[in-house]
C-alpha cells in the first residue's frame, strides 16, 4: 500500500465517522426525566392546558407514601385517580395539602401544569414502559384535537 492510498483511507474513514456522528446527533433524544415522575394527561390536553407533572421525589422527601396512598386515597396507578380541578378545590386528592395551608394553593396553575402539551399519561422510568412498546394513542391525535382545522383535511 502506497503512502498516498494510506492517506486517502485515513481521510475517508474520518469523513465517514463525521457523517455517522452527525447522523446520530439528529436522532430524537429520549426524555431523561427524574425516576418516578408522573405525567397526568387525563383531561388537560382536551381542556387546552399543559399536562400535569407530579414529581414523586419531591413529595417523598416531605411525606411517607402512607399519607397520600392510604389517607388521601390515591391509587397506585398513573392516571387511575381521575383527578379533576373541581375535586382538588373541594379538598380531595392534591387539594388536601395544596390549599394554601400545608402547601401552596391551586392559583399556581403552571407549577403542576408544566408538561409538554401532547405528552400521554405515563410513569417515567417504569419497568413496564421500558419493556413494552407503547400501547397508548399516537401523539398526532392530541395535536389534531387542538387544531380542528387540520382534522378536516
Amino acid at each position: 500500500m502506497s503512502l498516498k492510498t494510506k492517506h486517502r483511507l485515513v481521510w475517508k474513514s474520518l469523513f465517514m465517522g463525521m457523517l455517522v456522528y452527525m447522523g446520530t446527533l439528529g436522532m430524537p433524544q429520549p426524555a431523561q426525566a427524574e425516576y418516578a415522575d408522573v405525567v397526568i394527561n387525563n383531561y388537560a390536553d382536551a381542556a387546552g392546558m399543559r399536562p400535569a407533572v407530579f414529581p414523586h421525589w419531591f413529595h417523598r422527601i416531605r411525606f411517607r407514601c402512607k399519607v397520600c396512598h392510604a389517607d388521601l386515597g390515591f391509587k397506585f396507578k398513573a392516571g387511575g385517580n381521575k383527578i379533576t380541578m373541581a375535586k382538588i378545590i373541594e379538598g380531595k386528592f392534591c387539594g388536601a395539602c395544596h390549599n394554601g395551608e400545608v402547601a401552596w394553593s391551586v392559583e399556581n396553575c403552571a407549577m403542576c401544569h408544566s408538561g409538554i402539551p401532547g405528552t400521554p399519561t405515563h410513569f417515567h422510568g417504569s419497568t413496564v414502559q421500558r419493556l413494552i412498546a407503547p400501547a397508548y394513542k399516537p401523539l398526532s391525535k392530541p395535536a389534531a384535537q387542538k387544531k380542528p382545522v387540520s382534522q378536516k383535511k
Binding site: 475517508k12 469523513f15 457523517l19 455517522v20 447522523g23 446520530t24 439528529g26 436522532m27 430524537p28 433524544q29 429520549p30 426524555a31 431523561q32 426525566a33 427524574e34 425516576y35 418516578a36 415522575d37 399543559r50 407533572v53 414529581p55 414523586h56 421525589w57 419531591f58 417523598r60 422527601i61 411525606f63 411517607r64 407514601c65 402512607k66 399519607v67 396512598h69 392510604a70 389517607d71 388521601l72 388536601a96 400545608v102 403552571a110 407549577m111 408544566s114 408538561g115 409538554i116 401532547g118 405528552t119 400521554p120 405515563h122 417515567h124 422510568g125 417504569s126 419497568t127 413496564v128 414502559q129 419493556l131 413494552i132 412498546a133 407503547p134 399516537p138 401523539l139 398526532s140 395535536a143
Partner: protein, 225 residues
C-alpha cells in the same frame, strides 16, 4: 480519478443510510415544523427498544426540570421548580432509580418525611418481621423485610388487595412483577427499579450448600421407575 468517484459514491450511499436511519427525526422537521417537540415525544416517552440496538447508557442523571424532556420549556413556572440534585444534597446515594437510597436516608436520619398530613410529630407504625419466600430455581431465596416497608407504608396499602396476608396464598413471579403486579406495583415505578443491579436486594438469602435443583414432576411421578 476512479478513486475519487468511488469515494463519492460511497459517501452518497452513507448519506442515504443515515437519512433512512434518522428518518423519524427528519420527518418531524419536514411535516410539522411548528410543533416538533410534540411529535418527537411519540418515540421518546417509552424506553422500549425500537431498533434492535444496544441500550445506551445515560450520561447525566437527575437533570433539572427544564432539561428533563417532559417539562415544557416555554412554561415560565418550569424554571421555578426545584432541581432534584439540589434537594438530594446530603442523602445517601445508589446507582439506580433516583440514585438516592431512600431507606438508608430514613435510617440515618438524613430524611424525616411526615407520617401524617399535618402533624410532623406522628411516628410510623413499624413492624419488624422478615418473610422468607423460597425460590424453586437456583436463584437465592427472597427475604421480604416488613420493617423497611412499614417505615413508608401502612398495612392497608398492600393487604389484602395486593398481597393476601396468609402463608402460601400469594403466587408471585418475576414476569408478574415486571408487568407491574405484586411487588411491581411500586418496584419498577417509584421504589427501587428492577434491574440487574437490584436482583440481590430481594434475592438475598443464599441457598444451603447442599442445595440441588428440584426434580420435575415427571421424574418424581415416573410410573416406570
Amino acid at each position: 480519478m476512479k478513486q475519487k468517484t468511488k469515494i463519492l459514491s460511497l459517501t452518497v450511499a452513507m448519506l442515504a443510510m443515515i437519512a433512512s436511519a434518522t428518518g423519524h427525526a427528519q420527518e418531524v422537521v419536514s411535516t410539522e415544523s411548528a410543533k416538533p417537540e410534540v411529535i418527537q415525544l411519540a418515540a421518546v416517552v417509552s424506553g422500549a427498544n425500537v431498533f434492535n440496538r444496544n441500550l445506551k447508557k445515560q450520561k447525566a442523571f437527575n437533570p433539572p426540570p427544564s432539561e428533563d424532556g417532559i417539562h415544557d420549556t416555554e412554561n415560565e413556572a418550569t424554571y421555578s421548580l426545584q432541581a432534584p440534585l439540589e434537594a438530594y444534597q446530603g442523602l445517601p446515594t445508589t446507582t439506580f432509580g433516583n440514585r438516592v437510597d431512600w431507606v438508608k436516608a430514613i435510617d440515618q436520619g438524613a430524611l424525616k418525611p411526615r407520617w401524617d398530613r399535618v402533624d410532623p410529630n406522628e411516628e410510623p407504625f413499624v413492624m419488624d418481621l422478615d418473610i422468607v419466600r423460597p425460590v424453586n430455581a437456583s436463584m437465592p431465596d427472597v427475604v421480604f423485610p416488613h420493617r423497611q416497608h412499614t417505615e413508608w407504608l401502612f398495612c392497608s396499602n398492600c393487604h389484602p388487595a395486593i398481597f393476601i396476608p396468609q402463608k402460601g396464598a400469594n403466587q408471585i413471579s418475576m414476569s408478574a412483577i415486571l408487568l407491574g403486579q405484586k411487588c411491581g406495583v411500586c418496584h419498577g415505578k417509584v421504589s427501587f427499579p428492577i434491574e440487574t443491579k437490584t436482583c440481590k436486594k430481594c434475592h438475598s438469602k443464599p441457598k444451603p450448600a447442599d442445595w440441588k435443583p428440584p426434580l420435575s414432576e415427571a421424574s418424581v411421578k415416573n410410573p416406570w421407575k
